[in-house]
């Protein structure tokens, strides 16, 4: 058992996979000697050398395009995009090329690649360096999307993503980088498309993703003191989506909440809520409620950003106010 931070877990997970598969390579800006702007690739150059840990020019299309071309010709690749906002710069590559090529070629082309990127707010970087863009990727058929909330999940889901034969967009959350925990010994391999119930409860179900997970857990702790028993689900994987775990929980609690860092409109929670109302309607004791960032660009000032992104207080108060007779 070692104590590892979320940021260290990224390099740990990549190293685990690079040791396993000598063909696996990674490319991105400032990832080699510099160790990445978030220090998530520290040590990899020393262990794997400059041919496998490759610094690139500031050319997001060339980076993701190279990953695609290498993957389709037998080299599994991890591509780093420094900030997830930059997926917009290479969106053609991700949304039009990588996502669709297997289908368009009726299976001729396989794309075993992972695009890793630093996502989310809470670090006062302003509207162009703080977005939660996982929904952009979730809505494109052909992309798998994961967003871990703990160091152990970073490692396990990294392994699952690298080993998956389909393209995966892997969102590392900036606000979680310093979080640390004990991780198990030995190889850590998880599974895509599996949500995790992190806290069992009987009155309400709260589904959260990435940096919203610890907040939901804290809110659940406070709700418990008020006599409301909240079940907290870490969604972890948006594509594929583990609806069975969510539906199972809702059928037990009858109340459903999502906590989403994304701006309101068309967040992942909207899809999940739509599935819950379609398929668990008669189990519900009240409306499904989404707790999200308002539909605004994310502001930089600490006071404003804290107001915008769902807080423990907001989660607690929203559930407290609406959980009604279940309590």
């Amino acid at each position: 058992m070692a104590q590892l931070s979320y940021r260290e877990a990224v390099a740990y997970g990549i190293a685990q996979e690079m040791r396993r598969d000598p063909k696996l390579v990674m490319l991105g800006e400032d990832i080699a000697a510099a160790g990445g702007v978030f220090k998530t690739t520290v040590g990899l150059l020393d262990e794997f050398g400059p041919d496998r840990i490759k610094d690139t020019p500031i050319s997001e299309q060339a980076i993701v395009g190279a990953a695609m071309g290498a993957a389709m010709t037998g080299i599994p690749v991890i591509a780093e995009l420094m900030f997830s906002d930059f997926v917009a710069v290479t969106w053609d590559m991700i949304a039009n090329e990588i996502a669709k090529t297997r289908y368009m070629t009726d299976g001729q082309v396989a794309l075993p690649l992972v695009i890793r990127t630093a996502n989310g707010g809470g670090v006062r970087f302003g509207a162009q360096h703080s977005q939660s863009v996982e929904n952009w990727c979730m809505m494109i058929p052909g992309l798998k999307v994961v967003a871990p909330s703990t160091p152990t999940d970073v490692i396990g889901l990294m392994a699952a993503s690298v080993r998956d034969p389909d393209p995966v967009v892997f969102f590392e959350h900036k606000a979680l980088m310093a979080m640390s925990e004990e991780i198990p010994d030995g190889e850590i391999v998880d599974e895509l498309g599996k949500a995790k119930i992190l806290r069992e409860g009987t009155d309400v179900t709260i589904a959260a993703l990435a940096a919203m997970v610890p907040k939901a857990l804290e809110a659940a702790e406070r709700l418990a003191a008020d006599g409301i028993s909240a079940e907290v689900i870490d969604v972890r994987s948006l594509m594929p989506l583990d609806t069975r775990t969510i539906l199972g929980s809702v059928s037990k609690t009858g109340r459903f909440y999502t906590v989403e860092e994304n701006p309101r409109v068309l967040g992942w929670g909207a899809e999940v809520v739509s599935i819950v109302t379609d398929e668990a309607f008669w189990d519900l004791d009240g409306p499904c409620i989404r707790i999200t960032t308002p539909h605004i660009p994310l502001p930089a000032a600490a006071s404003l950003e804290d107001m915008a992104i769902p807080s423990v207080d907001r989660i607690y108060e929203t559930v407290r106010r609406t959980a009604g007779g279940s309590a």
């Binding site: 063909k23 050319s59 299309q61 060339a62 071309g69 993957a71 010709t73 090329e97 052909g142 389909d166």
Partner: protein
């Protein structure tokens, strides 16, 4: 009645024509094996006759959607594919039929794909703009300008890592030299010394706009080459021999670790940009002059001059006509794809499930 404005700034057909260079007669005496030359003659005919058939089928409303033909530009695909090794990679644009056929894609499966049939090379799911045949090294036809130059780099990088000596050859148009991905790709290819050959098929027009009025330099590819430490290479894209020799030099260089090349092949499309576009934005004199530089009759004459009997050439033409007829029958006989194809191959498990 609207007034007709006869102004070359707005009606490109009134501009001065851009005329082709005369044929370089010294190409006839280049030491190229007769077998190779006859193979190129067959390819030229296959690409020409197949594309004409695709056009006919389009006019019969059997090809839906769109098609972008390479009529007139066949010598580029012919020369390059002949210089490539079977395991080399081709990356093409939506104007990719010639490149697909020239790498050996089955003409029937290619045509069936245009007709939207399940016996198409992509099961009807890609269509005219996405012809791909990985087994033949045809790594795809890409319909969004620029992306595939970056993807070709990746294939070349992979070949470099695997140590296979494969070369990636990436074809694109003159208009593509003005998008960012072109510049990102060239820079990366150069700094990593990738075994990739970029081939700009300069047909003087993007869709309907002459390239010179939207491009900062007269030669869209060649004049950009020095910015990336590359030689400015221009070749007569209507002469199969010239293309073949230029291709061979660049491919050999890439294969032996010499890094990337950027080649501008000057050519012209006989028809419009796509579908039934009549191409009326081009000066009549220009179209006539370029049709006079049609690679096929020119090559026919060259082969005669070099001593190939006329019967050999007509034999090739007839054989190809039979292939194209058979391809047409094969394509027309295919069923339309259904639900099985609709949900097939979104994911590597062969299906389309995204939730449990």
């Amino acid at each position: 009645m609207p007034t007709e404005i006869a102004d070359p700034r707005y009606d490109y057909a009134l501009r001065p024509p851009r005329l082709p260079q005369p044929v370089d007669e010294s190409m006839a005496s280049q030491p190229i094996d007769t077998d190779i030359r006859l193979g190129m003659y067959r390819k030229l005919h296959l690409l020409r006759q197949w594309s004409k058939r695709a056009h006919d089928l389009f006019l019969q409303n059997l090809v839906k959607g769109t098609t972008h033909l390479s009529l007139g530009q066949e010598a580029v695909a012919t020369g390059f594919s002949t210089a490539m090794r079977p395991d080399d990679y081709t990356f093409a644009t939506y104007r990719g039929h010639a490149h697909s056929l020239s790498r050996g894609m089955d003409p029937g499966e290619a045509l069936a794909e245009l007709l939207g049939r399940s016996n198409g090379v992509l099961g009807g799911k890609g269509g005219s703009m996405h012809l791909t045949d990985v087994e033949k090294g045809m790594m795809g036809s890409y319909a969004i300008i620029g992306a595939h130059l970056c993807i070709a780099n990746g294939a070349a990088w992979s070949a470099q890592m695997r140590g296979t000596d494969q070369v990636a050859v990436c074809f694109f148009g003159d208009g593509t030299t003005n998008i960012g991905a072109f510049h990102e790709a060239l820079n990366m290819a150069k700094i990593w010394s990738l075994p990739v050959v970029f081939v700009c098929e300069n047909n003087l027009y993007m869709e309907y706009t002459p390239i010179d009025i939207v491009t900062a330099v007269p030669r869209p590819a060649a004049d950009r080459a020095p910015a990336y430490g590359l030689d400015p290479i221009v070749v007569d894209g209507n002469d199969p021999d010239a293309v073949y020799l230029t291709a061979k030099a660049a491919i050999d260089k890439a294969r032996s670790g010499g890094g990337p090349s950027l080649i501008e092949a000057q050519t012209y499309r006989h028809g419009g940009h796509s579908r039934a576009d009549p191409g009326k934005y081009r000066p009549a004199e220009e179209i006539e002059a370029w049709k006079g530089r049609d690679p096929i009759p020119m090559y026919h004459d060259r082969l005669l001059t070099l001593g190939t009997p006329e019967e050999t050439l007509t034999g090739i033409e007839r054989e190809v006509a039979g292939v194209v007829d058979a391809a047409t029958e094969f394509a027309k006989s295919g069923p339309e794809p259904g639900e099985a194809e609709l949900f097939r191959n979104v994911w590597a498990d062969g299906g389309a499930e995204w939730r449990n």
